[in-house]
């Protein structure tokens, strides 16, 4: 961790570590990309900005990196106000979506470039560049040209090139977007490891909820230029605050419901358990794996319209008058699988029935 030397200027606030965005607004013409964003990212955290395209996540990243200027608001990094500074004066480096490696330079020269710009003596910069390549497991590849590397290796060079300057914050803009699933999963593990090794704050932009869930300490789910929910992956998965978040993260079943206390009444008149929290018209959300297939009090009736074997679990779709769309249930492998057309009773515990604001599908 780098310690910020005490600064005399009035803009410095040594008490706030990490990144602090205060009331940040970004307008493109009349279009608002961000509408008043307040966000604190802790020092050393692996932070994910997650959302569909156009939600403002990349704009947020570019604001922190200095590639766009905020229309309103302040940006602080490690107690220093940076929103008026150009990119190269911020303690921030970026891993670009397309990697943006310099094709005319060797891997080592690519990694050394940032140090060269800082006029670090050649012997020191070569050593630090080699170290950075070691960090991403590419110490043997220094003399290669980028075109001679695979996509995954190029990605790791981009990470090494950004980390070699020991930034306070590393920004990653959908860095795994161009890779296939297997490689993406492997690099997710590697990136998390690198993050633990260097202890730098990572701000990671993605539209892939699985990627966010697998690496992030905390996630900000963004929608329409706002943060819809901020929390750990588990908090967000178990307690989404809106239908948008529930829909975006993981699979979910939605029911129109009228809630009273811990009981929700569904359109077909059945009464089921829910966590409560609000009364009156609401949307009830239940995760597929939270549903069990036996009857009893507070269950809904339906019949199976589809069963799919998906390896680690079996997914069945149940048509019921209680919901507009078939209810998806995830059964552990080894559980008794009902036959197609068979009548089933669905139930869940009160804690798994999450009550959300009423509203149509996003």
């Amino acid at each position: 961790m780098t310690t910020v030397p005490p600064l005399a200027d009035a803009d410095s606030r040594p008490d706030t570590a990490g990144i602090d965005l205060r009331g940040v607004v970004k307008q493109y013409g009349t279009q608002a990309a961000l509408r008043g964003l307040d966000l604190q990212i802790r020092d050393g955290e692996f932070f994910c900005l997650l959302g569909p395209s156009g939600c403002g996540k990349t704009t947020t990243l570019n604001l922190i990196g200095g590639f766009v200027a905020p229309t309103e608001g302040e940006i602080w990094i490690q107690g220093k106000r940076v929103d008026q500074l150009p990119p190269h004066k911020r303690p921030v480096n970026t891993v670009f979506q397309s990697y943006a490696l310099f094709p005319h330079m060797s891997v080592l020269e690519n990694v050394r470039f940032g140090l060269k710009m800082d006029r670090v003596p050649r012997d020191v910069s070569s050593e630090r560049a080699a170290q950075a390549l070691g960090l991403v497991g590419l110490e043997e590849f220094g003399s290669r040209m980028p075109a001679q590397l695979s996509g995954g290796q190029q990605q790791r060079v981009a990470v090494a090139r950004a980390l070699v300057k020991r930034p306070a914050v590393l920004l990653l803009d959908e860095p795994l977007g161009a890779l296939d699933l297997k490689l993406r999963q492997r690099l997710q593990i590697e990136l998390a490891q690198i993050h633990r090794d260097v202890g730098t704050t990572f701000v990671y932009v993605t539209h892939d909820q699985e990627e966010a869930m697998s690496m992030a300490d905390r996630i900000a789910v963004m929608n329409g230029g706002r943060i819809e929910q901020l929390g750990t992956p588990e908090e967000i998965y178990r307690g989404p605050v809106s239908r948008f978040v529930a829909d975006f993260i993981g699979d979910s079943n939605f029911f129109e419901a009228t809630v009273e206390g811990a009981v929700a009444q569904l359109p077909d008149g059945s009464r089921v358990a829910c966590a409560g929290g609000r009364s009156g018209a609401a949307t009830l959300m239940v995760r597929p794996e939270a549903i069990v297939l036996h009857g009893g009090d507070g269950s809904i009736a339906g019949h199976v319209v589809q069963t799919s074997f998906l390896g680690s679990y079996i997914r069945i779709a149940v048509e019921t008058p209680a919901a507009g769309a078939p209810v998806i249930v995830a059964l552990r492998d080894g559980a008794a699988v009902p036959a197609l057309g068979e009548g089933v009773m669905l139930s869940w515990t009160a804690a798994d029935g999450v009550v959300l604001e009423p509203g149509p599908a996003a």
Partner: protein
């Protein structure tokens, strides 16, 4: 020629290997027109010029005596040598200015201009070619001349009381017109090589601490080097051989080596004219030889 004859024999001769041979030769038939054109219209005349440059002229007639006299004569006349240096100087300066204007244009066009608007802008660059070369050069007389647009404007503003002759009939006028004439070549060549550049690389360079200028010089320029060199070749080499522009707007002060060659031929001193032509051609060959490596992209990318 020989390939022509070969095809003919192969086609008529009977035998089993015939079809293969015929198709092998047939694949070269497409080259024949080009070979004929190059041979008859370039190599043969070039040979004649080479011979002429080593022959002698006596009483306006070419005598087939081998001599180095034509070359010796050229280098013995101070005015010719200084014209040679001046030509080089004008060509270098015009090229630098033309490329210097073309680069920002190509950069701006490929980085900031939406694709839809690029084509019309590129067409605008090419529009001057629709008018004849001669017309375009002559039109500068109506701009720079004593009754030209510039002088009328200066008179209208009251800055001058009588027309100035300084705009025309000297090297600055030649350079100005040459820059105007060759800018499109530089702009189009540079645009086609900058267009493919991944602009994220400049962002990455600046993210890593480079200033905008450093990013351009260290990241963009090395990658479009072949394009820059092609642009320089397309601009510099034709300018070396220019003779109409200096003749029309250059006056006596703007004479270039092309005008010397024309003069020698007009005065029937074919052998001396041939020698100077070959000096220019030789210089260009050397230049292309020096640049040949820089034109390969493979080397730069190691792929």
């Amino acid at each position: 020629m020989s390939s022509d004859a070969g095809t003919a024999t192969a086609a008529r001769a009977p035998g089993e290997r015939l079809p293969r041979l015929a198709s092998a030769l047939g694949s070269y038939v497409g080259f024949v027109p080009a070979v004929l054109l190059l041979g008859l219209c370039f190599l043969v005349p070039l040979g004649i010029v080479v011979c002429y440059s080593f022959w002698d002229t006596v009483d306006y007639a070419v005598v087939h005596d081998w001599t180095l006299g034509n070359y010796r004569y050229f280098f013995s006349v101070g005015a010719y040598v200084s014209t040679m240096w001046a030509t080089l100087w004008v060509a270098v300066l015009s090229t630098v200015i033309a490329i210097g204007l073309a680069f920002p244009f190509a950069y701006w066009l490929s980085r900031y201009v939406p694709r839809k608007i690029r084509t019309p802008l590129l067409v605008l660059v090419i529009v001057p070619f629709w008018a004849s070369y001669l017309l375009r050069v002559y039109s500068w007389l109506t701009i720079l001349g004593e009754k030209g647009v510039v002088n009328r404007f200066l008179h209208w503003t009251g800055l001058t009381s009588h027309p100035l002759g300084i705009f025309l009939y000297d090297r600055p006028a030649v350079i100005l017109v040459l820059v105007y004439l060759y800018f499109p070549f530089g702009a189009l060549t540079l645009y086609s090589s900058i267009e493919r550049f991944d602009w994220n690389q400049l962002r990455a360079a600046m993210d890593l601490g480079a200033s905008p200028l450093q990013a351009i010089l260290r990241i963009l320029v090395p990658q479009i080097r072949p394009g820059i060199i092609t642009a320089v070749i397309f601009v510099f080499i034709p300018i070396l051989g220019e003779y109409l522009t200096p003749q029309i707007v250059g006056g006596t002060g703007g004479v270039m080596i092309g005008n010397l060659i024309v003069n020698f031929f007009q005065e029937a001193e074919y052998t001396r004219g041939a020698a100077i032509s070959l000096l220019v051609a030789g210089f260009i060959v050397v230049l292309l030889f020096v640049f040949r490596k820089s034109l390969s992209t493979k080397e730069a990318y190691g792929a």
